[in-house]
């Protein structure tokens, strides 16, 4: 008879169901295992950090190792530049210029007292963070500084990049 199914069809079907179930089970397990490796909670350091009273900061530069941050002071204006190299994330080092110079950065004058070099691959940055040599693809980030309303400490927001006209005046 033409409408009679071959006797092996049920077995084929069961084999397919079994194989399919096996593949789905493995795929789900695999996906669940991989997903479990993506952290839901970050135990990384918070991005908004109190940096101590402004009076602690000398004129010129202060390096904050924990935040990998340079805080610059010129009289009563402050700005903060990241110390994380934009190439591959090493910590750049500051070198004092023999003579401070003034440069116009995005239309605003800025007194440059230092320049930066990266120990990993030799990138060089101007005092305002502009990448001038080496493999660094972009300038060092500038972060927003503010004054804490409760105790007057300097506060940096490492998640909030600002442009290079930013100054905090106290």
């Amino acid at each position: 008879m033409s409408d009679q199914k071959p006797p092996s069809n049920r077995r084929d079907f069961l084999v397919k169901i079994g194989t399919g179930a096996g593949v789905v089970a493995l795929a789900t397990q695999g996906a669940a295992s991989l997903r479990a490796l993506v952290p839901n909670v970050s135990y990384d350091a918070p991005t908004t950090v109190k940096l101590g009273p402004p009076a602690d900061y000398p004129d010129g530069l202060k390096f904050l190792a924990d935040e990998r941050l340079f805080v610059f002071r010129d009289g009563n204006t402050f700005h903060a530049v990241s110390a994380t190299c934009t190439h591959l994330g090493c910590t750049v080092r500051a070198e004092a210029l023999s003579r401070p110079e003034t440069k116009t950065v995005d239309g605003q004058p800025l007194k440059l007292t230092h320049k930066f070099s990266c120990p990993c691959h030799g990138s060089k940055y101007d005092g305002d963070g502009t990448n001038v040599a080496g493999p660094a693809p972009k300038p060092l980030s500038w972060f927003r500084l503010s004054v804490s309303p409760d105790d007057g400490q300097l506060v940096v927001d490492l998640a909030d990049q600002v442009d290079r006209t930013f100054r905090l005046t106290i």
């Binding site: 350091a45 591959l88 990266c118 660094a136 693809p137 972009k138």
Partner: protein, 449 residues
């Protein structure tokens, strides 16, 4: 008779019915006995019954694959005690490695054995790859069902696993060297467009290199990567046998015409017809002719053991004299100056330094070009090379044949470039990755700001 000479003596007591006891007692008298010794033994089952003398020659393969396997064995053996002594936590990892180095009896030697065999593996794997390339051994000869090109692909995968295995081990001491090498390495991963940052986060288990990173690298180092390498290795060996042994055999098959040889006395024949002539003779190629082959056991087994023992001896002795470095504890706040990658990645560090492109206002990070595109292209080229190579099958298993001169030159140039960049990175880069000739003194730069 002293014990040792009794163990190894080939003669022994001569009284009738007394069998000498020897450590290695197999002396097969016939091909069948030799074949039986193989099929009834799990370890020796890896071996074929017969191997051609030419493919066993030291000067053909230098036994580099066997040396690599022996080094892998040594890393596993020396890793086992370290597994019990090392603590994978950021608070205690450095101290436990320091204890291994300075407090635990033989700890320094064990760590040196582990480190040297791992580094040796990187070197010998590359030499093995070069040997296979120069002899065109990834090409199929005239044998049936050969897929040598796929075994070459497996080999490339094993090279990558070896490098990654070494790199994950690099982080474990949790010293400055480790921390910054991994900072740079994982930042290269994040230079991949779109998915890069996610890959990095998955690899290090967060945004910063922390406890999650250490445990991930640790588990990769002791479970996943060795497991993957073991599986690939087993497959690699199985393919070597399926493809008919070393490529040298194929060359002999092609170049040596079948000839008439007298049958060996133990071979059995079925009478299928009436033979002409006055003595029985069979047609044999070099692979089966008695004078060009030897029994794998004991000939190849003995030679493998000599190679393994030699490797073990060399590493054990070197480990007495070459100490493993241990720098200051990892400090996320201070980047060493200069900060260098492991030596086998220094050529990549050189490339990522030199390949940032500025096109007007548009910039491509050198990390992407030098850390992802170039090595990716190199690995891709290596992988597909067997299909690009159209030289005749007769050049399979021959060192530097004329027909493959151009590609051999390309390979040598690429290898030389990598070696040169490695040397520049090792010896000619000082503070701030500045270029200094080896005889130039580095300027005195304060270590910290």
């Amino acid at each position: 008779m002293p014990l040792l000479s009794r163990l190894f003596s080939s003669g022994g007591p001569s009284a009738p019915g007394v069998r000498p006891t020897r450590l290695w007692s197999l002396r097969p008298k016939s091909d069948r006995e030799s074949g039986d010794a193989i099929t009834s033994n799990f370890l020796l089952h890896w071996f074929p019954a017969k191997v051609s003398k030419a493919s066993m020659a030291w000067s053909y393969s230098f036994w580099l694959g066997t040396v690599t396997a022996a080094l892998f064995l040594v890393t596993i053996l020396s890793g086992l005690p370290l597994l019990l002594l090392y603590v994978p936590s950021v608070e205690r990892a450095y101290q436990s490695v320091k204890d291994i180095e300075y407090v635990i009896t033989f700890g320094r030697w064990l760590r040196a054995v582990h480190r040297l065999s791992a580094h040796g593996m990187v070197i010998v794997v590359v030499l093995h790859l070069a040997r296979v390339f120069f002899t065109g051994a990834y090409k199929n000869g005239l044998g049936r069902n050969q897929h040598r090109q796929w075994n070459w692909v497996i080999g490339v995968a094993m090279l990558l696993v070896t490098l990654f295995l070494s790199f994950t081990g690099y982080l474990l001491p949790w010293d400055q060297l480790a921390f910054w090498a991994v900072t740079v390495g994982t930042n290269i991963a994040s230079a991949v467009p779109f998915v890069g940052p996610d890959i990095r986060e998955l690899l290090i288990g967060g945004r910063n290199i922390e406890q999650a990173t250490l445990i991930r690298f640790y588990v990769l180092h002791i479970v996943f990567l060795p497991g993957a390498l073991a599986v690939l290795f087993a497959y690699h060996m199985w393919r070597v046998r399926k493809d008919g042994g070393l490529a040298k055999v194929d060359h002999e098959e092609v170049t040596e015409a079948p000839r008439l040889v007298a049958p060996t006395p133990t071979k059995t024949y079925t009478l299928l017809g009436v033979a002409r002539g006055t003595s029985p003779a069979v047609t044999a190629r070099s692979l089966v002719a008695a004078d060009t082959t030897v029994n794998a056991v004991p000939d190849m087994a003995r030679r493998s053991m000599i190679v393994t023992l030699g490797t073990l001896a060399a590493i054990s002795i070197l480990a007495v004299f070459i100490a493993s470095p241990l720098e200051e504890p990892a400090n996320a706040l201070v980047t060493p100056n200069p900060a260098k990658a492991p030596w086998y990645f220094l050529w990549l560090q050189e490339i990522v330094t030199d390949t940032t492109l500025h096109l007007g206002s548009f910039t491509i990070n050198g990390a992407f070009i030098g850390g992802v595109i170039l090595p990716g292209a190199l690995v891709a080229l290596l992988t597909v090379w067997p299909w690009l190579d159209t030289s005749p099958a007769i050049t399979t298993g021959v060192w530097f044949p004329r027909a493959r001169r151009t590609q051999n030159i390309i390979f040598i140039v690429l290898l030389a470039a990598i070696l040169l960049l490695t040397y520049v990175g090792m010896a000619m880069r000082g503070p701030y990755w500045q270029f200094y000739w080896p005889w130039e003194a580095w300027p005195d730069i304060p270590k910290r700001i």
